[in-house]
């Protein structure tokens, strides 16, 4: 099993910083899409080295789990 950590920081103004850890490949974007859907809209996005690592099958499961529409 893989451990997925999401650190959500809500600033004084309500702006939200989402830091996804432990998710390889594009799967990490499923978490940011999920939170964007409930909070508002994406202002900035920074991809890190883990994003470019081989993706696992978890991405499809995440989409289903988080009810993200394409």
């Amino acid at each position: 099993m893989a451990q997925h950590d999401v650190e959500i920081t809500i600033s004084q103004t309500g702006e939200v910083r989402v830091h996804v850890k432990g998710v390889k490949g594009k799967g990490c974007l499923e978490y940011s899409k999920w939170l964007a859907r409930i909070v508002g809209r994406v202002k900035d996005e920074q991809l890190t080295s883990e994003y470019y690592e081989p993706e696992t099958k978890a991405r499809i499961d995440l989409k289903q789990d988080l009810n993200i529409e394409e």
């Binding site: 099993m1 893989a2 451990q3 997925h4 950590d5 999401v6 650190e7 959500i8 920081t9 809500i10 600033s11 004084q12 103004t13 309500g14 702006e15 939200v16 910083r17 989402v18 830091h19 996804v20 850890k21 432990g22 998710v23 390889k24 799967g27 990490c28 974007l29 978490y31 940011s32 999920w34 939170l35 964007a36 409930i38 909070v39 508002g40 809209r41 994406v42 202002k43 900035d44 996005e45 920074q46 991809l47 890190t48 080295s49 883990e50 994003y51 978890a58 499961d61 995440l62 789990d65 988080l66």
Partner: protein, 156 residues
């Protein structure tokens, strides 16, 4: 690290969810919540003086079951804050108080609107996190009054 994303909040919700955010912000700022405008008028003799109204950016209060002119009134000594919905559906915050300048009241209204937005986002995020069976590992209020929530889930 995988990704860092910054999100701008949009406050679109029904009146009960707005009310919950107002109550949270009021508690954080030491304001008393009055149930209705009438109650505020009867029980609290606040000399209104000047008033300043600000609008919550990116907000919309869904109008179902909401009577026109309904608002929440908050008080603290000579200060009164009214949160309501304008004719365009935007959420408004009006601060008033005798002996306070327009600049001061504008600052108070802006601060309340920000705190209310923070509470609204917090409530939404926590509700969603719990409904998706995330484990809340840690939650803390930082020195700059931001709220940091660390959640975790295990994936096959």
């Amino acid at each position: 690290m995988s990704a860092v994303v910054i999100l701008t909040p949009i406050v679109i919700s029904s009146w009960p969810a707005i009310t919950a955010a107002v109550a949270g912000a009021a508690a954080g700022l030491g304001l008393m919540v009055k149930e209705t405008v009438e109650e505020a008028v009867q029980e609290v003799e606040v000399e209104v003086g000047q008033s300043v109204e600000v609008e919550l950016a990116n907000s919309e209060v869904l109008a179902e079951n909401l009577a026109t002119g309904k608002e929440i009134v908050l008080t603290k000594a000579d200060l009164q804050i009214r949160v309501g919905r304008d004719e365009r559906g935007r959420c408004t915050v009006c601060a008033s108080g005798k002996g306070r300048s327009k600049t001061e009241l504008k600052q108070i209204a802006d601060d309340f609107a920000q705190k209310m937005t923070q509470c609204f986002v917090y409530n939404r995020v926590m509700s969603e996190v719990k409904s998706r069976n995330f484990q809340v590992v840690n939650e803390e209020v930082m020195e700059d009054e931001s709220v940091r929530i660390h959640v975790r889930r295990w994936v096959d």
